[in-house]
Chain length 318, copies 3
């Protein structure tokens, strides 16, 4: 594995899940793998779980990890080719990336979408510029349209908790929020569940909240949330802003908030969310504080997902 940007970078998801579960059982077994290797964690946006879990995963593998909040501790980056830099950007990615590529063995990057320029966001301009110019493996810590470490974690968590022989029914349901949120987690969850291929997969959301079909193709789209939830084994709750009317909030209907009433229709579904969650806006306290919630397990598994990915890349670097 060279870069880790989307599900397409993984040839065998099942093998990677087993690798992650192996690290969960024995976190320090590969502590020699990363000796004298250095990983840079570059943040253009805030992060808690992703930041900490990746740092911990790197340490577990014996690597030096250096965190750098580039916009706060360094300089605001320019991404446009040919820009006349007389504005508020101070350094071009063409100059920053090769240097970071010389300082580190692996570079991890978090960068959010603008939610204004759909073409730029969906071309993944920022992270692709790093891939183009850094010359070393790039790991996405969430980019403009995808959040692959989250989705990989989600599949680990599903495999860990679902022990029946049949396929689980997994429902991704849109939830309300107070402001425009990227489509990354929704896109990415759809992409990974489809690539994994071991579920009956339904996506439910208000009309005009369709995600990009390049990620959702293969899933059933159902506008009736109640109907979608019937018999679900897992319910993944997440808000996103409109893809069609890009970045807009089109619906505030609080009946989409997942409550215990909604869960009654499911097959004792386990409830998932990537966190942070707006309690009593996206999901009710009652659900989050119940035994149905596996959001903490998801977050805990972030370490093992990151560790499996970094180890795989280290093998290809060494």
């Amino acid at each position: 594995m060279k870069n880790f940007i989307s599900a397409r970078d993984i040839s065998n998801i099942e093998a990677m899940v087993q690798k992650a579960i192996g690290y969960k059982a024995d976190p320090f077994k590969d502590k020699a793998l990363g000796i004298n290797k250095r990983i840079g964690l570059l943040f253009l946006n805030p992060s808690m779980r992703t930041r900490l879990s990746t740092q911990i995963a790197a340490n577990n593998l014996g690597m030096d990890a250096i965190v750098f909040n580039i916009d706060k501790d360094g300089w605001k980056l320019e991404f446009e080719e040919g820009a006349i830099m007389s504005g508020n950007t101070i350094e071009h990615v063409k100059d920053a990336a090769p240097i970071l590529g010389s300082y580190f063995d692996i570079l991890c990057i978090r960068t959010f979408p603008s939610l204004v320029n759909k073409h730029e966001d969906y071309s993944e301009l920022f992270i692709n510029q790093f891939i183009k110019y850094a010359g070393i493996p790039i790991v996405s810590l969430e980019s403009a349209t995808l959040h692959p470490l989250q989705s990989f974690t989600d599949i680990i968590t599903i495999e860990e908790t679902f022990k029946e022989l049949r396929k689980p029914k997994i429902v991704l349901t849109w939830a309300p929020h107070i402001k425009p949120i990227p489509q990354c987690v929704g896109n990415s969850f759809a992409e990974w569940i489809n690539a994994w291929g071991k579920a009956d997969f339904v996506i439910t959301h208000p009309e005009d909240y369709e995600l990009d079909t390049k990620f959702t193709d293969g899933a059933t789209i159902e506008y009736d949330q109640e109907k979608a939830l019937e018999g679900a084994d897992f319910v993944y709750v997440k808000n996103w802003s409109s893809y069609a009317d890009y970045g807009k909030v089109l619906c505030n209907d609080s009946s989409w908030m997942l409550t215990t009433e909604h869960l009654a229709k499911t097959n004792n579904a386990r409830v998932m969310h990537c966190l942070p969650v707006r309690r009593n806006v996206e999901l009710s306290d009652e659900v989050l504080d119940s035994a149905s919630s596996i959001v903490n397990l998801q977050a805990t598994n972030r370490v093992w997902a990151a560790q499996a990915v970094l180890a795989e890349i280290l093998h290809s670097v060494n």
Copy 2:
């Protein structure tokens, strides 16, 4: 020791002082103790000495230390149970704490009081929510009402510098400041000196600046600063805002600023302050730059205090 929040968490202060002094003599003697243990340092507020000394103490014990400025690098936390999170808080401590508890072996937290809501501050809502939900040992790096690592350091420093057989006279004196300051250091110093029990302890401040009696009971309160300072062996200088008229600045009287004239009444007292200090507002340059000042020694000892506490917790974790 499970948590380190106040003097009550220490069963034997004297033994802990000796442990700290042992680390001062040989900082790296327990470097194997923390192998494969990880400590998180979580800041909701600024810090210099506490941050650096705790990080160094952790490193001296062989632990991985990860610093996280949660409000800047991550998300603004909600602490109220049942909150409908449609405002500016993004993540509930109920969701953040268990995850941090899974990522780390020990979690250190700095969180200041509001100085607005006395009940909330004095119930130590923030740090208690972490204790309730993190499931791992919590170390206070200063909380709403107490600063235990500072007070433990202060006692180490007093023991290190006072070699007479009699009890020292220790005076905690209020000093002016330009803005409302928490009561933490005053409360905590009173609590620890009382728990330590080896001093004649006097607290002096303007009327209406009484600290919470739950910490000060056992000390003599004296409104006349001059009288209080007579024969003092140690003078601890610190501003705090009013506890009764909560968070208010009731006095600006610069005659309370500690100068060499004040020291003339003492028994060649050593002068202490937790730092940072507003020079020529709380304490005169003349005093701070004199041999009477042991503020640097206090700050230096922060490392050994933190190291003793972390080692004690590691023993209970292992």
Copy 3:
């Protein structure tokens, strides 16, 4: 070597260049040198290359490195002796520096000039206060008037790329910028090239942009950029604000921006810049993206320059 603030702290530049080149060939050969040594990296201003390269250099030498953004994570410092601290500064360097000196074995500091108070800037008040009060070796990560790690790197890079027996012609040329920039890099490059003594050294800039002669004495000053560039082997491009009319921007003439037309007059000159660079303001894309540019090599060499300096100081500390 005790401190590293300017070229004058190096007795033998050539030997230091060889030391750095040795680390480039074998980064981890001295990993035992810094065991149980701790380095503090203190930032009063932003930094990318300097921050990361010094952290990496310290790790390569086996040291614990702790980064501290003092103004953001800690307190705003006061530098004036005798200040009555009733304003917005919270801690005096007299109190902070000795403590940092007790926490670390080496202290690295980045602090920019005010560009307002020339006397204060050129007395290097901030970094000299740290030298005075910290009591441990101080390494400049760029100070008010100099940037020695950059200039040392520049000489390493020149030696690495120029293999002819004759002296190279090196031209430092002023370039336009959109805002007032410190004189540090220009001053420092002049100081180091003069101290190195192995070049024909020409400085070109608009009139009234003279740098402090204490650094430039020995170089030829030439106001005609075209004439200056004739036959150059290296062209170092950099903006600075006026030293005479302190901190002012006196010229916006875009013809000073280095383009391929300018390079035509040189001896296939290699083009240098300390980065970050304002593309198409200071230097054209065409030049930066050409084989003439060695700006990435300069930035890469920052690690080895820092490593040579830290190693030299560690030898003197041990």
